[in-house]
């Protein structure tokens, strides 16, 4: 491959953002500006689809690798993808245009800056998923804090300052330890190139500490219990598009990091700390599901449900079984679609009624039927009804977990039931019941763009629910290779 397709994917949104930067903002060109951003992100989306077509599913080698000297004798700018990363890239490029379409009503002021922030964010997120050098990875991973901080802080709700600070400082605190680990790896192994590190392996006596340092960063970002507290705040205060990005993609960085780095680089430590992950995951699943049950605020409820879903993901990753890992990735993709859709659903009613409280609503099914149908679909997908993408992931994860640890799997399965409870109860309280609040009669049903966005999310949710084959085919070889290498390293040490 001569054409640097991955770098183009990373750079294109940034170039679009640069273009927007030189555009003068006024009321008239708001539409044009949006089209520019939309166009950029759509081109990126089609480019990533093209990438998927070119992608060779039969090998676990990294493909489309670009390797350039970046800091001489120190770091190479190295990007490349395998079956694990490509799906996340597509998820990113798929969600971003939808975010841009969705800014219609919610963002009133400083539209250009908002679009710039989203595009820059997209660049960084794609960078995270395709970097094959630890320093490059860290660079993208951390850089994402800047646009997200601004998105929450400038366009957020009433407690936006608190939430933005909490988000930024929590994540930064976790990440600096990872930076120490990365530099230590450089001195231990002489390189930060992931591919070389896979081959070299890392000395067993360092693995535990390094694993913990990476864990501190990923656990905050995932987020795992008990460091999840930033997430509900950030979600509640962020504007709809920000919540969507946060839930759909940002959280996946950590899950991806666990697979790529924690399992890939530190197999011995991963084996040692598996019980820790199991415990935290199970606590997250049960505990945050129970918290979600008691929420009054829709966004907060969905935020807590995200924590619970990510608990399934971490559980699945550390089963280190083919099914568990595949399930985790599918669960992440599915959660990316479903959580994005749910936040958009909340955004839809919020734009009309300016309230996120559940008790404001009730009995809206006859007033806005289209909305109710789509909301229903995503609610069911979130609780993992067979036939939706949510089911496939959860099912595979639990299958993997049953092989590894019966007790954990049983408790996690209980979490599925609580998950169904809070989602259905949410739906019941919002959509069904008596129409108490007479203001709700003024609500209008989904407009064209909202309908379009939600349908765009509904199609893959259903499609991959019935036919997850394309996704599984893409990741299968990479996952089985990962497990093979993992077990080999475990035995050889």
């Amino acid at each position: 491959m001569n054409f640097p397709i991955l770098s183009s994917l990373i750079l294109l949104p940034a170039v679009g953002a640069l273009f927007l930067f030189f555009t003068r903002s006024n009321k008239e060109n708001n539409i044009t500006v949006k089209y520019v951003a939309l166009f950029t992100s759509l081109v990126n989306f089609f480019l990533s689809i093209y990438l998927w077509i070119l992608f060779d599913q039969s090998t676990s080698e990294f493909q489309f690798v670009e390797d350039r000297v970046w800091i001489k004798d120190l770091i190479n700018y190295k990007v490349g993808i395998d079956g694990i990363s490509i799906l996340f890239i597509i998820l990113t490029t798929f969600i971003t245009p939808l975010c841009i379409i969705s800014v219609n009503n919610s963002i009133k002021n400083r539209l250009i800056e908002f679009l710039i922030a989203i595009l820059i964010m997209e660049s960084f997120m794609i960078g995270v998923f395709c970097s094959l050098d630890l320093v490059v990875f860290y660079l993208f991973f951390e850089a994402g804090l800047i646009p997200m901080f601004l998105i929450i802080g400038i366009w957020g709700g009433t407690r936006r300052v608190y939430s933005a600070f909490k988000f930024f400082l929590f994540t930064l605190l976790g990440s600096v330890l990872m930076l120490i680990a990365i530099i230590s790896i450089y001195w231990i192994s002489g390189t930060t190139d992931v591919v070389q590190l896979y081959e070299l392996g890392i000395d067993a006596k360092y693995q535990n500490l390094l694993w913990l340092a990476f864990f501190s960063s990923f656990a905050v970002k995932t987020p795992m219990w008990p460091v999840h507290t930033w997430l509900p705040d950030a979600h509640v205060e962020a504007p709809t598009a920000g919540s969507v990005l946060l839930a759909a993609i940002l959280l996946k960085m950590a899950g991806y990091g666990f697979i790529r780095f924690s399992l890939g680089l530190f197999p011995i430590a991963s084996e040692i700390f598996t019980p820790l992950i199991y415990t935290l995951s199970v606590v997250a699943i049960i505990f945050t599901s129970l918290i979600a049950l008691m929420q009054e605020d829709m966004k907060k409820l969905i935020a807590y449900s995200s924590v619970a879903h990510m608990g399934f993901v971490t559980l699945g990753i550390f089963t280190i079984q083919q099914q568990g890992l595949e399930g985790s990735i599918l669960q992440m993709i599915s959660h990316g679609l479903v959580a994005a859709a749910l936040f958009l659903c909340v955004g839809v009613v919020y734009d009309r009624m300016h309230s996120r409280l559940i008790n404001t609503y009730g009995g809206i099914v006859s007033i806005i039927p289209k909305y109710s149908v789509l909301f229903m679909l995503f609610t069911l997908a979130a609780l993992g009804l067979p036939g939706t993408s949510g089911f496939v992931g959860e099912f595979l994860i639990l299958m993997g977990a049953f092989k590894e640890n019966f007790l954990v799997a049983v408790i996690a399965s209980l979490g599925v039931i609580i998950g169904a409870a809070y989602m259905l109860w949410l739906y019941k309280r919002v959509v069904f019941g008596k129409l108490v609040n007479s203001d709700l009669k003024q609500m209008v049903d989904l407009n064209k763009s909202e309908l379009f966005i939600l349908s765009c999310l509904a199609v893959p949710t259903l499609f991959f629910g019935f036919y997850p084959e394309p996704l599984i085919n893409t990741i299968e070889v990479s996952i089985s290779n990962l497990i093979k290498v993992y077990n080999f390293n475990l035995v050889s040490n």
């Binding site: 970046w70 804090l145 800047i146 600070f165 930024f168 930064l172 600096v176 530099i183 001195w187």
Partner: protein, 472 residues
Amino acid sequence: MTNLALVFPEIFLSLSIMFLLILGVFKKNSSKLIQNISLIILLVTSVITLNETLGIKETLLFNSSVVIDYLSSFMKIVTLLAAFLVLVISSNYLKNLKIFKIEYPILILSSVLGMMIMISSNDLIVFYMGLELQSLALYVLATFNRDQLKSSEAGLKYFVLSALSSGLLLYGCSLIYGFTGSTNFNIIANQLNSNEYAITFGIVFILVGLAFKISAVPFHMWAPDVYEGSPTSVTLFFTMVPKIAALTVFIRFLYVPFLNLIDQWQMILIFLSIASMLFGAIAAIGQTNLKRLIAYSSIGHVGYTLAGVATGSNDGIQSSVIYITIYILMNLGLFSCLLMMKRNNKYFEDIEDLSGLSKNHPLMSLSLLVILFSLAGIPPLAGFFAKFYIFKSVLEQSMYFLAIVGLLSTVVAAFYYLRIIKIMYFDKEKEKYDTDHSLWLKFSLMFSTLLILIYFIFPSQLIEVVSRINII
């Protein structure tokens, strides 16, 4: 025969200072002329330094009391360019405060001369001479706005405390002279008897003096008051230029004569570094005045710079030099913004005055945003790379404690940088500021912001320049 060409920059600078003094006496209303000539002199001196000394290998002059090597040449050029930028962006500020006088550029030139001597010194006496020359000029500069009570207070405070630290430093010098029989760095290195505890005392006293000059905790007390009281352009000078010279002396003093005693001084430096990083981060949180906040933030940054020096390796020195270079760049941008906060010829320096800046001055606040995130060390901005190199060299020596404390204090420090960003971007706007800034001010803001922003594209260049520094 001593090769005078190598000290030609210093000779040229001192002759120019004398010429300017005479010119200032005989020509009325010559402040603008002298300002311009000084700028040219600084540029010419840096060109001479570049031409005459950058390429040559280590040379000792005047009975080996002066050393010219790559480190000294590089640091001199950085000093000269930094002084040039300070001088060029401060003229409007001085005019507005009605203190645009001939003394200002001349004092800056003489303190730069002192710094150049410090940077080249290979002898305790020469070093002390340079130090006093720069300090004397700095005392006067601090009081430059003499009708203002705060400015006079700043100068006096600085003078008294600085004199105390100079005394300690001299006492250290005398101890070292007493126990080694020489003031020359190379001879000291040869005569060193590591069993003599008095030498350790001497090192400690000198380190105290140096830590004072570079404002490292616990010898930082003067910095916030002096930074706040001095005119802003002088504060800019304080935060940028003297630190370069002090860092060079730190490096040379510790690594040339006393490398063998690294066990004795490494702990001290680690302590200075950790204390500065932590204190700078924590104390800045409560500040309301921007200049005070910058003072604490500069204390923190000095901590990171010293962490590189504490490693005892060439890599560490190089990373410190990179750090201070990038730090100067960021500070330049920061102060350019500060000098732009002017309404009806009145300057504002409280953090609250930045409120809602992003609505009224989007470009200025965007630059400030970039600079602040860079100061906080968030990738992909230049400040991150500066910290990255430092911690890379620190971890090379397996100094994990220092690295962990350092990186955790960046999280604390991030809080107060974020607070400024919050005020700029999330709060309600106030009245607009004037926009009639001089071209140079706009240029320096643009220049520093762009360099910080695009540094990640060309990170190798600076490393390559610095990698020729070779002390050990």
